[in-house]
């Protein structure tokens, strides 16, 4: 548990991360993800509760833990007038073991930038540098806090490739993110966090399966003349009905079963369909199902 004055940032958050897995903490901004990983990394101290990392405890084995953890924090800006190579060399000097700075740069694919000043890097290159700094000690456990926040889609995809390659090497990774697609693609297991608590835990597949339906149908109607929830719930295959800002979301088992029936229902009632979108259920839908809010709600 962690308090800031009267605000409890994290409370009753129980997690076990297994060796060799990529574990995701997924939740909206302010959910307590960063507080959680900062406690795990010994930057913050929990006000109550037990934390065990790699079988060691903060306050007792700090030196050893710091030697064995790798870290990429949210919003770290490295010294602007050091070069990429100098920055990695600086951090490498703190560790007893590890790879060469050049090796770390090669691993994240910014070797060609090794002589550039940090201030001349793009957002994606800065994140890769942060990753190289985290990896240079060959950590047993790697913490990545929002590694792709604020990046363009191409840079995000490149970073995902790097993280996937790390997973393939069997590293244990704890990844914090508010992007559901990131968690879905990278994580073996995901804890969905909201208001300082874990509200769901499992593989992305299990979490989506917990909806009891794999697809989502969203539609809009003219004049807001939407049918009542009980009428929609009787449409074949519908598991859940939700109204939000003029659109209606149905969580459904089979699209080919539900959509024709839905269109039939609307035609029968003379309601005009203005919009119809279907997609595979995602972790976003899981979060919505659990909290009634989307991940991007601030």
């Amino acid at each position: 548990m962690k308090r800031y004055g009267d605000v409890v940032a994290v409370n009753g958050l129980d997690l076990d991360v297994l060796p060799g897995e990529c574990f995701g903490l997924l939740g909206p901004n302010g959910a307590g993800k960063t507080t959680t990983v900062e406690i795990l990394q010994g930057i913050l101290t929990a006000d109550a509760g037990a934390v065990e990392v790699l079988g060691l405890r903060w306050g007792k084995d700090d030196d050893e833990l710091r030697q064995r953890l790798g870290t990429q924090l949210q919003e770290t800006l490295f010294a602007e007038k050091l070069t990429v190579f100098e920055t990695v060399t600086l951090f490498r000097s703190f560790y007893h073991r590890g790879m060469t700075p050049a090796g770390a740069l090669a691993l994240v694919g910014i070797t060609e930038k090794h002589r550039a000043w940090v201030k001349n890097l793009s957002g994606g290159q800065r994140q890769r540098l942060a990753l190289a700094v985290a990896l240079v000690s060959e950590p047993e456990l790697l913490f990545l806090d929002e590694p792709t926040a604020g990046l363009d889609p191409q840079a995000r995809r490149q970073l995902w490739d790097i993280i996937r390659a790390l997973k393939a090497q069997g590293r244990t990774v704890v990844l914090t993110t508010h992007y559901m697609d990131e968690a879905e693609r990278l994580c073996d297991r995901v804890a969905v966090v909201d208001q300082g608590r874990v509200i769901a835990l499992g593989t992305p597949r299990e979490l989506i399966a917990s909806l009891g339906a794999e697809h989502v149908v969203e539609f809009g109607v003219a004049d807001g003349a939407a049918p009542a929830a009980d009428a929609l719930a009787r449409v074949p295959g519908v598991r859940e009905v939700r109204y939000e800002n003029g659109t209606i979301r149905l969580t459904v088992a089979q699209i080919h079963e539900t959509v024709p029936a839905l269109i039939g229902l609307l035609r029968e009632r003379g309601v005009e369909l203005t919009e119809l979108v279907t997609h595979h259920a995602t972790l976003e839908d899981v979060f919505l199902h659990l909290t009634g809010r989307t991940l991007r709600d601030e």
Binding site: Q41, G42, I43, L44, D63, R66, Q67, L69, T71, L73, E75, T76, L77, F78, A79, K81, L82, E86, T89, L90, F91, R92, S93, F94, Y95, G98, M99, T100, P101, W117, V133
Partner: protein, 352 residues
């Protein structure tokens, strides 16, 4: 071990040094600014040949026959160090009021000297003019005198100024170098990132000090060498005594820089604090003029300031050749400041 590139202390020190020497503005303020200041002030105050004093000669209002003005002027022009202008009395009064002439001489009998007795140069002009007129009038000197003029390095304004500028430089680089660097590191989230690594906090702080030390040797060396070569400022003490004073000063101001930066999160916040610390010392600590001009009531405060101790210590070493025993009070003052500020900073320092 080769992967550790000389170890964390060296790497952290290199980081600080690289940041400094890759910052052209920092280089300007540390090296060029004191030299330019010394050059400008040294030239402005270093004209050893004193300027001639300008005196005005007027006719007395009631002079009917006239004639004596020319005689007076001739007598005065023969005197060294005086420049004589003939003016009507209204113009002479105006120029005296605005300080363009040092003295107005109203010719006649008696000769009248009009001047402001609180102005040094007026009193000097009066003495010279009186001497010239009395000699021209036939006064005999009763004692023979001979003048021997000297220009002794050590007594000129530039000799006073260079140690003051050195002190000022050590103060500002200590406060800005340490304070600014730390707050920027915290402000960028980098301090937190370092904390998550196995870096030792003591290494981090030691590296700040080590980087300061390297720069200190350079900045003191450059300014001092400039003063000695360009103006012949003396260096009468030992290198050992100078090092002790400089080091104690650097410790005191690094400590104060650390203190200013120990909790502040923004650059603006630390800039304000550093200015609050520096401005009183700019004024009171005898950088550009002696602190002895301030009234006795505030002398305890003036003497307690670390820059006063540093400036006095530097002047004692350079100008008087003071050795370590004579510097004990100054060194003590600075070391107390250093100990207190480091001690408090380490207690209250905000790492995250």
């Amino acid at each position: 071990m080769s992967d550790r590139a000389g170890g964390p202390l060296l790497q952290l020190t290199l980081w600080r040094l690289r940041e400094l020497w890759r910052e052209p503005e920092a280089i300007f303020w540390v090296f060029a600014f004191p030299i330019l200041l010394a050059l400008a002030l040294g030239i402005a105050f270093n004209r050893r040949a004193p300027q001639a004093l300008t005196v005005a000669v007027t006719e007395s209002a009631g002079a009917r026959e006239g004639g004596r003005a020319g005689e007076t002027t001739t007598a005065l022009e023969a005197a060294p160090g005086l420049r004589v202008v003939a003016l009507d009395s209204a113009e002479a009064a105006t120029r005296l009021r605005i300080g363009r002439v040092a003295l107005v001489i109203v010719s006649g009998d008696p000769v009248v000297f009009r001047y402001d007795s609180t102005r040094e140069e007026s009193r000097l002009a009066r003495l010279l003019a009186n001497q010239a007129l009395q000699t021209a009038g036939g006064r005999r000197e009763v004692r023979e005198v001979r003048d021997v003029t000297v220009t002794e390095p050590g007594s000129r304004y530039i000799d006073f100024l260079i140690p003051g500028l050195l002190g000022l430089n050590i103060m500002s680089t200590g406060l800005w170098g340490i304070g600014f660097g730390l707050v920027r590191t915290r402000n960028r989230g980098l301090l937190k990132r370092l904390l998550a690594s196995p870096m030792r906090r003591s290494h981090f702080l030691l590296a700040q000090a080590a980087a300061r030390l390297v720069f200190l040797v350079a900045e003191v060396g450059v300014v001092l060498a400039f003063g000695m070569l360009a103006f012949g400022v003396p260096f009468r003490g030992s290198a050992m005594a100078l090092s002790a004073v400089v080091l104690a000063g650097a410790l005191a101001f690094s400590g104060l820089g650390l203190l200013c930066a120990s909790r502040v999160k923004t650059i603006e916040g630390v800039s304000g604090l550093i200015n609050v610390v520096m401005v009183p010392m700019w004024v009171f600590s005898g950088v550009f003029f002696s602190w002895s001009h301030f009234p006795d009531a505030i002398q305890p405060f003036v003497q307690a300031l670390p820059l006063t101790a540093l400036n006095d210590g530097l002047r004692a070493v350079l100008l008087e050749g003071a050795g370590l025993p004579a510097l004990a009070a100054h060194l003590g003052n600075m070391l107390v400041w250093a100990a207190v500020s480091f001690g408090v900073s380490l207690k209250i320092f905000r790492w995250v």
